[in-house]
């Protein structure tokens, strides 16, 4: 079921076109990833979906209703986790949850119960009475998410929710997102961490310079845009001839020497690995290690833009 439909939206700030005519849909129960480097237009896109800014052109429909004309339609069903820690540091965790819960119209026992439930989910129950300014970065991030969950939103938008936190907190957040999705929550997740998007998302939109340059599942994207993989070899006592023979193999695109490693770039072929080993054995080379680096979204992005994601 289609929950959100973004149709050809654009946004320009002075001379900079932050978003340039993008379209995509979001189905109920999906985790959609917006992947792209800083400045790709991810935050502007979700700001438009969150009704914070209006697109210059295009339309955004939530449950078939224009949120540009009727922002309330999405506001009531939306949990918004901004990239920044949007909390009141002088207030305690509980006071923050109380305030934001009331801002979403919760009160009384329902609010109290919800705070209990959410503080359990985000794992800050024992620090609820402490001021937020005393929390670690990871705890603040978790509370930042917790605030967005108080009113049981149908859709949650998370804008780079794991920036600058420790691996433990990151894993907690990612597991929380998966848990919420299993309970039926639809998620839009933006990140420039490829592995997070790969881990979480059912569908991915790769953004660059305000445009969606690729869209699909991880497998679809890799298949569509990148069919190569790198085989990294650490060798001794090998001849230059054997490298030329490897380069002549059917699937091999290039062979290069990077420091002490030989990198063989090749298309997907199950037989290739065996052929390389046979040639090296025939040459009498000593093989210290062999590592196959499979294609991923990083390499898809590299393939598409010529740049790495964290540029």
């Amino acid at each position: 079921m289609e929950l959100l439909k973004v149709q050809n939206i654009s946004k320009q700030f002075k001379k900079i076109k932050a978003v340039d005519g993008i379209s995509f849909t979001l189905n109920k129960g999906e985790i959609l990833g917006l992947l792209g480097p800083n400045g790709a237009g991810k935050s502007t896109t979700i700001s438009m979906i969150s009704t914070l800014i209006q697109p210059d052109t295009g339309e955004i429909l939530y449950a078939d209703t224009s949120i540009i004309k009727k922002p309330k339609v999405i506001q009531e069903s939306l949990g918004y986790v901004p990239q920044e820690i949007a909390l009141y540091p002088m207030l305690s965790g509980k006071e923050n949850l109380l305030f934001w819960g009331r801002a979403y119209g919760l009160k009384g026992k329902k609010l109290k119960d919800k705070i209990e439930e959410i503080s359990d989910i985000i794992g800050i129950k024992d620090r609820l009475k402490d001021k937020v300014k005393t929390y670690s970065g990871g705890m603040k991030r978790r509370l930042n998410i917790g605030v967005a969950l108080l009113h049981d939103p149908e859709l949650i938008i998370m804008d780079e929710p794991t920036v600058g936190i420790d691996p433990q907190s990151r894993k907690h957040i990612l597991d929380t997102v998966i848990g919420l999705n299993k309970k039926g929550m639809t998620v839009i997740y933006t990140s420039h961490y490829m592995e997070e998007v790969e881990y979480l998302c059912n569908r991915i939109c790769i953004m660059d310079q305000g445009k969606i340059i690729a869209e699909g599942t991880k497998e679809q994207l890799i298949k569509q845009y990148n069919t190569t993989r790198d085989i990294k070899l650490k060798l001794e006592n090998y001849s230059q001839e054997v490298l030329k023979k490897i380069e002549l193999l059917n699937c091999v695109i290039s062979v290069s020497l990077l420091e002490e490693e030989i990198v063989v770039k090749a298309t997907q072929d199950k037989k290739l690995f065996k052929d390389i080993v046979d040639l090296l054995n025939d040459d009498g080379a000593d093989i210290h290690s062999m590592d196959i680096v499979e294609a991923n979204l990083e390499t898809v992005f590299l393939q598409l833009t010529g740049r790495i994601l964290r540029d």
């Binding site: 914070l52 800014i53 309330k72 506001q75 009531e76 990239q83 920044e84 934001w100």
Partner: protein, 440 residues
């Protein structure tokens, strides 16, 4: 809305630095200034003061009649052959007072006088257009002439009615008229010389003795000055003045804290989050308005209680204090909201800073929070009421003097008007700004 206000007040109460600015600093300042500037309220000596003060002079005497009465003495035969050709030109008390004294260059630099009737004088005092009324009493000319030209001394009681609202300048008038008194006494001392002149004109000793005896039946007091303040009013102490002045100045800081609220919420990204939750900027701005009002009221209550208990300041009429507190809080709330909206829609933090470091201090000066208004240049005195603290100070001081509420109406309406105007301007600024806040 209540949720937003509670959150904002909690934020302030938990912030020790802000609390210190809005509560501890004014308490310390009002104590220091009240003690340090005690002299301004009780001592006349102020060599640096170059202000020209307005005084009203009421002539209660009849110059012609009193001169005739004086001449009659000579015509009565009491002085023998002398038939009233006595020339009063050099000893005319009116001329001495007005032409030689009030028109004196030094005096004119300080006092500007207007001769009026009693009713007009009282009206001028009531409207704060005069620092004092000088009453030149009935028989002023006659008594002064007698004192100046005979061995006797008739009482010349110049009365000064001081404007207790312009205490400093009224004290100044009192001091200056005191100087006139001294000058008159010096003239009286010269009378011996005059009498000698009379003798030189050919009076017999017997006639002079008769003349002297008659005059000596009069009292022998010198020129006296009676001073009183406007009926039923007490003058203010420096602690009273500075408790009001500092308190109202720090209300302006409450506005400056509120002035930064929206842009700080935006910079903390809580504003965006609030917007996404369905709160409009107008609603958030209004909660900021109530937050500023709440802070201003809390601030006022704490400072009034502190000054009453710790430095024994008498705040006067409770009703007036309440009205002043609410009206000033309302105006300050409006001002704070306007500054916060302008800072937000222009996305320029320095607007709030200009307000805090420029406009607040200017208002504090013009409104009389640093030094009493009447010491300021006239141009600033005239615009005193446009400063929120200026109007608030006037209401509080009137309350301390138990003035009727009608006298505060002008300031009450001004403060409410300012508050409404600021809110309207804020609303227009919000509406005019199509620009939405951006987090991308």
């Amino acid at each position: 809305m209540l949720n937003l206000i509670i959150k904002d007040i909690k934020n302030i109460l938990y912030d020790k630095k802000t609390l210190a600015i809005i509560l501890i600093m004014p308490i310390v300042l009002m104590s220091i200034l009240g003690a340090a500037l005690k002299g301004v309220f009780s001592e006349e000596d102020n060599d640096n003061d170059i202000q020209v003060y307005e005084v009203a002079i009421v002539k209660e005497y009849n110059y012609e009649l009193e001169l005739d009465k004086y001449k009659g003495i000579f015509e009565s035969g009491f002085l023998g052959d002398f038939k009233g050709d006595f020339d009063v030109e050099g000893i005319d008390p009116e001329k001495i007072f007005f032409e030689e004294f009030m028109e004196n260059k030094e005096i004119k630099e300080i006092l500007n006088y207007t001769i009026v009737d009693k009713e007009t004088g009282e009206q001028l005092l009531k409207e704060n257009k005069a620092s004092a009324i000088i009453f030149l009493p009935r028989n002023f000319v006659y008594d002064a002439l007698i004192s100046l030209t005979t061995p006797g001394r008739n009482t010349v009681a110049i009365e000064i009615v001081k404007n207790s609202e312009k205490q400093f300048s009224a004290d100044m008038v009192e001091m200056i008229i005191g100087r006139f008194s001294e000058a008159m006494n010096a003239n009286i001392a010269k009378k011996t010389v005059l009498i000698n002149s009379i003798i030189g004109n050919g009076f017999e000793q017997e006639q002079i003795d008769k003349f002297t005896k008659l005059i000596q039946d009069q009292t022998t007091e010198k020129v006296n000055i009676a001073v009183r303040e406007v009926t039923g009013e007490d003058s203010l102490t420096s602690f009273q003045y500075y408790s009001v002045a500092i308190m109202t100045m720090f209300l302006l800081y409450a506005a400056s804290i509120g002035g930064k609220a929206l842009i700080e919420e935006k910079n903390e990204f809580t504003l965006q989050r609030l917007e996404v939750s369905g709160s409009t900027i107008a609603k958030i701005a209004m909660s900021n308005f109530f937050r500023i009002i709440s802070i201003a009221i809390i601030q006022s209550i704490i400072m009034i209680v502190f000054s009453s208990v710790a430095i024994s300041v008498l705040w006067g009429d409770v009703k007036t204090v309440l009205v002043a507190m609410l009206c000033s809080a309302f105006a300050v709330g409006g001002l704070g909201v306007l500054v916060s909206v302008l800072t937000l829609v222009t996305d320029r933090y320095y607007i709030a800073n200009i307000f805090e470091f420029g406009i607040v201090n200017l208002m504090a000066l013009v409104g009389g929070s640093f030094i009493p208004v009447e010491i300021l240049p006239k141009a600033l005195q005239k615009i005193n009421f446009i400063a929120i603290n200026g109007s608030a100070i006037n209401i509080y001081l009137n309350g301390m003097k138990y003035r009727p509420m009608e006298e505060n109406m002008r300031y009450i309406l001004l403060l409410i008007g300012m508050g409404v105007l600021f809110i309207l301007c804020a609303g227009i600024a919000l509406k005019a700004s199509k620009k939405r806040r951006v987090i991308a």
